[in-house]
Symmetry: C2
Subunit: 146 residues, 2 copies
DNA sequence: CCTTGACCTTCCCATCATGGGAAGCCTCAT
DNA sequence: ATGAGGCTTCCCATGATGGGAAGGTCAAGG
């Protein structure tokens, strides 16, 4: 199987397949004499695993760990679960941040006339919004970019 | 005011202040003879506006538009509101995606024993999870990285 | 047998917002 | 005058992804 067919079969773009190979997420596969990459069905399975994990928002680093556990017949399911629950917590933290933004924004937008006059609570809030609602909240919020 | 003081006063790091200047979000400010940037209080206000907008998740591009509207005494509040509501919709879309991930993951994690045995529904799902629940859903999901 | 188009290869660049760090200059307090 | 700490510019890295160029390869049809 060519990389193009592998991409179609796995749902991972050819670009990304090469990238995953480069960063070591998938081992270098076989090559034809001309240098074309050749994929086996087990390579495809691995790529599908990766794609599914990406769809669930796992980082490449986490996927590497999951792949290792997948291959490890003597794994402890606790190790898998730990990765998953940590990831869930990350996602929930992001959701919390977004929810807070949305609630502030919606409140402001609801009070904006949205007509052709200049007065606008949204602009007002940005222009004189308090800088320091709760300092440590900001500090906690800052690292995680939304 | 030096850039360091401006950073402390605005909540925007010196690095980012220089960056915003470079991409034109803030105009080049005055300089001392030695080349040090000097900030006025109105510069600080602008930086605070930017920081507040960043905290609400606006992109740099959107902030540029908001800054222009802020400066425009003849603006229509409808223009501001449009930017805000579009942004709200973006955030809500992200939230929806994350929520879906979390719900899948939580379901899987709830059924994982988390002990020292290898059996694990999380790994099983990744390994043989359907690739194509709803193709167009995936397509819609893909562009927006979480 | 040769051409053509669709593939493949590598390499470089861009995104977006942010931080790290080096090399060198400036300023202020001692 | 000296040293600490600030400032300057410049380059690099992040994470996951796409775009595109230059050039090699393969298969099908004339």
């Amino acid at each position: 199987m060519n990389i193009g067919e592998a991409a179609a079969a796995s749902g991972v773009s050819a670009k990304m397949i090469r990238y995953y190979e480069q960063i070591g997420l998938v081992a270098g596969v076989a090559r034809t004499e001309a240098g074309y990459r050749v994929y086996s069905t087990s390579d495809i399975h691995r790529l599908r695993f990766i794609r599914r994990a990406r769809d669930l928002g796992f980082s490449v680093k986490e996927i590497g760990e999951l792949l290792a556990l997948w291959a490890d017949r003597g794994r402890a399911s606790a190790d898998v679960k730990r990765i998953a629950t940590t990831h869930i917590a990350d996602l929930e933290e992001k959701m919390r941040q977004i929810r807070e933004m949305v609630s502030t924004l919606r409140h402001l937008a609801d009070h904006c006339q949205g007509d052709d006059r200049p007065h606008c609570p949204i602009i007002d809030n940005l222009a004189r919004g308090d800088l320091d609602e709760e300092p440590q909240k900001r500090a906690a919020r800052h690292p995680a970019r939304v």
